[in-house]
Symmetry: C2
Subunit: 505 residues, 2 copies
């Protein structure tokens, strides 16, 4: 099961990988370009006031008896399942959300900062379908999930290994999280995400992290982040709240994420839509503060348009991009980290549409100063599919965004003026010392060869190049070491739990 | 010759087009997002001082006796072909360059603003190769040039019809500009660009514009813009200066454009490279002011990286993007319009790389506040090729950028709060009045269908979709009307000049 799909020519490649230089992992992007603030103080207040009126006048549903009782106790007006939260209560609770947290990896060198000027890239999440190494679409299996975790480990700019880039449909649901969490912990040494399908799955996630990091460390530090969706408009359901309570109680954050299909689950209006999702995210974050004061939480958004022709989600279009700028500004207003979605496409291939849509969804999110950037590699088919080809293509794109948004180091002009003087009019700079040490970034998958060379090399499309690179990376992959005792303890935990869940099934 | 390549099913399509609503042409983008200023006042001064030292200490070559004599007369120190220009002289000459001009089309409804907060999109320029409607690459011919001019006319967001999206290699060089200028004037009614291959070609361009616009109008208004490249580093050659003198004398602007291959024609340094190209562009613009004070001129840049592996140009990478931000800030410092390049790629297809590269080169240029955006549709193969498929794909992308950078209209929140109230938790917004009038932008070439529907429809890649759309547009194209007398006068001019150039050959 731990075997990647492709191992052809494996021995030679593995020797090569072992003798090659270790990959240079990039830290969280320390953004020096942007953020762009579209709104003046009045605009920020307008959205804030809208969100406050939604939470008090309209109210938000918590479909969960415990949450309702918690809210009542905290001072909200509870009417059936609907919770009306006054501004003072929301803002008082929000005041304890930290603006930034350190997200620990089991390898300390891979720990990253979440919040402030920092941005991290996480991969895609939950795809039921996979576009395979043979180019064929099929349902996702655990072997794919594991392959993508290996590819996450191989990527220089992907900060998070994630948990379920592909939803493994060949594993029974009650046991799935055991495979996912143990794979995420073993196959990569980057920060992982947590399971949220049930209270038990969330608790098992925490327990497995306690095995690897130690109980005391987990209680004091962030070692996992969960993704929890609000049922927009205005419903937090029991499953999500069950998981939220487990994570918050363990002092672990969640991305509290309304899912806005503008025109379907919310208004097709930048201001109205953002007011709605700010209200929903604030309600989730505030509730987490009732569970445990001071627990880090992330304001989440998943934002897309809806085609008025077909009802299909539209990704990478202009208005959701503008709305991401507004959300970013609101997150800075509340002084909390925020999460959004990028690099996605409605295309069923890694084709030109996939390239445009991915880039056009990344730029506004980075310009909005997003801290936790989900789906930054792999998604096709409107998030229903994950493509091996697109995954590795996206993953190299991330290095470019990392470079751009890191901005410019200050440079002394003198050496260049002296180069220009010695090269002189009509000369060239190919031989200067500085050119030889040229620090300009290159993307190894970007083909800039002549037409003739490209033809000789097989006239490959970017999609083909991506598949070949995915195979190469899987072949070169080396599992990061994990202390044998910890690994055994994890296996024992999984085996014991598997028996429990199998018996209950 | 005026016949497009594809006319199959023409009658029906033409009837359809004639009865369909006229295309909605978009005005110049009135940017409300950005620009991003990376530099503080010290950074701006550093680049400015670098440019001034290049122009005075190192000097710049004008390979042209008349220009050397003009510079001497103006007060520069001329040493052989090398002109050393003191800061006071450069800045005094620059002070008469207008910050903005109206670029007139023969149809006044298509005239646009160049400068300040405005951005216009022009198409690609000079490709010797074309990626045809059959997907095959071949040398460009006049029939292609004309087809692209027709496609430019069909595009809602492409502001300029251009002049030579494809370089027509089946027309003798001395006569080429006659076909290009008359085609640009007849096949579209948008602003055109001018020929620069010789003094005679530039003069013929102006004379043809005088036929269409009237002599007096041309003398007082901008009706053409020429693209003139500096031979970076630090050489303005005679051909370019010959053309510049003709355009400037006729009060018509040029995009004075250094061509920076960072690491080859200039230093692989953001600051050093930008100082060099600012120096070159300023020298060209200042010289134009010697020819005619107050003539509008545009600070141009063509900026790309160079692969240290193969020496090939790299398009859409991070550092040239950052350099575009610096150039934009310098143009604002000098208070002149600026021009850059976008939507280009080294790919030999309209594939995922083409999509990423195009978008990744457009965003920084728009964020830098660029006014005159060249190459915004069609380029592949590192600017050596123009692809029909990519052209129409790019042209729809422009509508998305237009929408994003136009920013947000202020919206009253009340109606949306009331919608949210009546929809309530767990409801949907598909039936609200606002959703039905949903103004969110849609790209008709973006496929957001289900996998099954996409499969049923032929499982088409974005490249195939682009080819089909190019055929459809060429079929639906209707030539914009031009007064018969003017058209005849143009034809007579062309016929007479053709005889002259044929006799001279």
């Amino acid at each position: 099961m731990a075997r990647p799909i492709v191992r052809s020519g494996g021995r030679e490649a593995r020797i090569k990988a072992r003798t090659a230089a270790a990959p240079v992992y990039l830290p969280a992007v320390n953004r020096q370009v942007g953020p762009i603030n579209l709104l003046g103080p009045d605009g920020v207040q307008k959205i804030h006031r809208g969100a406050m009126r939604i939470l008090w006048d309209i109210g938000i549903v918590f479909r969960d008896a415990r949450a309702l009782s918690h809210w009542k106790q905290a001072g909200a007006r509870v009417d059936g399942e609907r919770v009306h939260i006054p501004e003072e209560l929301i803002m008082e609770l929000m005041s304890s959300v930290p603006p930034r947290y350190t997200f620990h990896a089991r390898n300390p060198a891979r720990s990253v900062q979440v919040g402030d000027n920092f941005s991290i890239f996480a991969n895609c999440y939950g795809s039921p379908f996979v576009y395979g190494l043979d180019g064929v679409r099929r349902r996702s299996e655990l072997a794919d999930t594991k392959n993508f975790l290996r590819l996450a480990q191989m990527s220089q700019a992907m900060h998070i290994s994630g948990i379920l880039p592909a939803e493994p449909q060949d594993v029974p649901v009650p046991q799935r999280h055991l495979d996912l969490v143990s794979s995420a912990l073993k196959l990569a040494d980057k920060p992982i995400m947590g399971s949220v399908i049930s209270e038990a799955a969330a608790q098992d996630t925490i327990d497995m992290l306690r095995i690897v990091f130690g109980e005391e460390f987990v209680d004091r530090n962030v070692v996992v982040t969960a993704l929890l969706n609000c049922n927009t408009p205005l419903v937090w359901d029991e499953t999500m709240l069950d998981a939220l309570r487990i994570y918050a109680a363990a002092n672990q954050p969640a991305l509290l994420t309304p899912f806005l299909l503008a025109g379907a689950s919310g208004p097709a209006s930048p201001f109205g839509g953002v007011a709605l999702l700010v209200a929903e995210a604030l309600a989730g974050m505030a509730y987490a503060q009732i569970v445990r004061r001071g627990c880090p939480m992330v304001m989440g958004v998943a934002l897309m348009g809806v085609s008025m022709k077909t009802g299909a989600p539209m990704l990478g279009t202009a208005e959701p991009g503008l709305m991401n700028l507004l959300v970013g500004q609101m997150a800075r207003h509340y002084n909390v980290p925020w999460r959004s979605c990028t690099m996605w496409t409605g295309s069923k291939m890694a084709d030109i549409q996939a390239g445009y849509d991915s880039a056009n969804s990344m730029w506004p999110v980075m310009l909005g100063g997003c801290n936790f950037i989900m789906h930054s590699a792999g998604f096709v088919e409107g998030a229903l599919g994950v493509s091996y080809s697109k995954w590795v293509q996206d993953s190299y794109q991330l290095e470019g965004y990392h470079r751009f948004f890191s901005g410019l180091a200050d440079e002394a002009l003198e050496p260049f003026l002296s180069d220009i003087q010695s090269v002189g009019p009509g000369g060239h700079f190919l031989g200067t010392d500085h050119t030889r040490e040229n620090p300009f970034s290159m993307n190894p998958l970007q083909n800039n060869d002549s037409y003739e060379k490209w033809l000789d090399d097989g006239a490959k499309s970017g999609e083909q190049v991506g598949v070949e690179e995915a195979k190469r990376q899987l072949d070169a992959y080396i599992e990061p070491s994990l202390d044998e005792d910890l690994s055994d303890a994890l296996d024992e935990f999984v085996a014991a739990k598997r028996r429990v869940y199998a018996a209950a099934a």
